[in-house]
């Protein structure tokens, strides 16, 4: 019982982390059709700014967290402005290649600017403090991750339903031209999508680095792939789908770690992707995606 409860929270917190990243990917994709593979580098940006702050003696966690969030948001908006806006009208593959280019440039900035080797970031390690509730042992991080993600999703839902800009973003996912005919600036909608994706990635960065305790130049690679898989699993472009996909992926990973015997533990990812493959064979549109046939009108 104790083991199940601990692992359930563990699965929830890992799933939440994937959900945060997947949501960021999905928001940008839904509005402008770009799969931003540089999204993982937002984790790096968050991590290296934490590292830099600790290095220069601004290591107080109440300083580090807001600065980390802000830096990632600004980076996301800046990248949209300098890298993605110029290729907005280009074919989708151009945007995709631009994203890879941005990712490589950022990785090399980390690599040459700091070090090719992992660096410890102990500043947020305090989140790993364990707490005992009765006979159960949890870390603060696990509660925070699940809780903060839930709050972020609720705030996002409110934003998308209650504000004009949120309505415009939902409308733009289906028909961008007509949104412009309402007088809503395309640049504003897209910049907002990037800001939100940056904010969610900033939150994920805090949790991700607290869990790992260290940063390295290529740390964003695997998470962005996982987030992409979560998006596909949930239904690409669907925001609820991204959340569900992230959670399912996190839960699958934890369950398989528990179920697989030690000598097969190395096959965890293979097993996870096998199951996801099987789900997609049955539901090619993803868990929450709408079934579409070639030639269907989407709007």
């Amino acid at each position: 019982m104790q083991y199940v409860a601990e692992q359930a929270l563990n699965a929830l917190s890992i799933g939440a982390e994937y959900s945060l990243l997947a949501l960021g990917l999905a928001i940008v994709f839904s509005v402008m059709g770009l799969v931003n593979f540089a999204h993982g580098e937002f984790l790096g940006v968050g991590g290296y700014i934490m590292y830099a702050m600790a290095l220069f003696g601004a290591g107080d966690i109440w300083m580090i967290l807001p600065v980390c969030l802000l830096t990632v948001v600004i980076t996301a908006v800046l990248l949209e402005r300098v890298a993605f806006r110029p290729v907005r009208r280009a074919p989708a593959t151009t945007g995709l290649l631009t994203a890879f280019g941005v990712a490589i440039i950022l990785q090399n900035v980390f690599l040459m600017g700091v070090s090719p080797r992992p660096k410890a970031v102990p500043a947020v390690a305090v989140l790993n403090t364990t707490v005992d509730i009765g006979s159960f042992t949890f870390t603060i991080l696990q509660f925070l991750e699940a809780g903060v993600t839930a709050i972020a999703i609720v705030l996002l839902v409110v934003f998308m339903r209650r504000t004009k800009l949120g309505l415009a973003m939902r409308a733009a996912a289906h028909d961008f031209t007509t949104v412009r005919l309402m007088g809503v600036r395309a640049n504003r909608v897209i910049a907002t999508a990037f800001a939100i994706s940056g904010f969610l990635a900033g939150l994920a960065a805090i949790f991700f680095i607290a869990r790992r305790g260290a940063i390295d130049p290529f740390m964003g690679l695997l998470p962005v792939l996982k987030a992409f898989v979560a998006c596909v699993l949930g239904g690409f472009g669907s925001l609820p789908g991204a959340v569900v996909g992230g959670l399912v992926l996190g839960i699958l990973e934890v369950v398989l770690i528990i179920l697989l015997p030690d000598f097969l533990a190395g096959l965890r990812d293979a097993a996870v992707f096998f199951i996801i493959g099987a789900i997609l064979v049955g539901r090619p549109q993803g868990i929450l995606g709408k079934k579409a046939e070639l030639g269907d009108k989407t709007a």
């Binding site: 309505l167 409308a171 007509t178 412009r180």
Partner: protein, 237 residues
Amino acid sequence: MLEVDNVSVNYGAVRAVHSVSLSVDEGEIVTLLGPNGAGKTSMLSAIIGLVPVAEGTVTFEGQNINRLDTESRVARGITVTPEGRHVFANLTVEENLILGAAIRRDADGVARDLETYLDMFPILRERFKQSGGSLSGGEQQMLAVVRALMSGPKLLMLDEPSLGLAPQIVDQIFKLISGLRDHGLTLLVVEQNAQEALKFADRAYILSSGNLEFAGTAEELRTSADLMKAYIGEGVS
């Protein structure tokens, strides 16, 4: 109010509109007629700024707006309901209408206008919380027109408002359009259904293959069997 002076529009290497001039005065209903592919929609797109003007000038309220982007033109009081309605299917009727008023800062005025239009079109009040995609074609057209009205435009352009609608719904839509004049609106209506459009329009232009073929009063066109035959087609006397 709107002056289009010798405007040409290109799509890639193809010229869709050849040096067309037209004007719309305040309080007028002007209709732009012509067969499929005549360049009517291209003309509207050039006026709202979705496609660039290759030659000529578009002037609104005395100012050259050639270089303004679409959003700025909407902010100045021009709006268009696009061909095929383009209701936001994933948003509710309410959300469609709120988004229609996106450029307005007067919350009280928006709420007042919303009430006025919902009184005018009770069906929209009935469907207020339903998704735009669940509406019938005629209801969607009403929603698209009212959504455009919510921005408080000075000039409303309608692109094929009767397209794909049942005849009795077309009547309703045209009644709604002619009623808008009484609300102080100026209208530029693109139609293929010339007979119906000429019933409520003050003046008419006819485009064919991107060229202006006729400019005159609706009366003139309606009463001249020769003109109708020449430009609109047979069987309309």
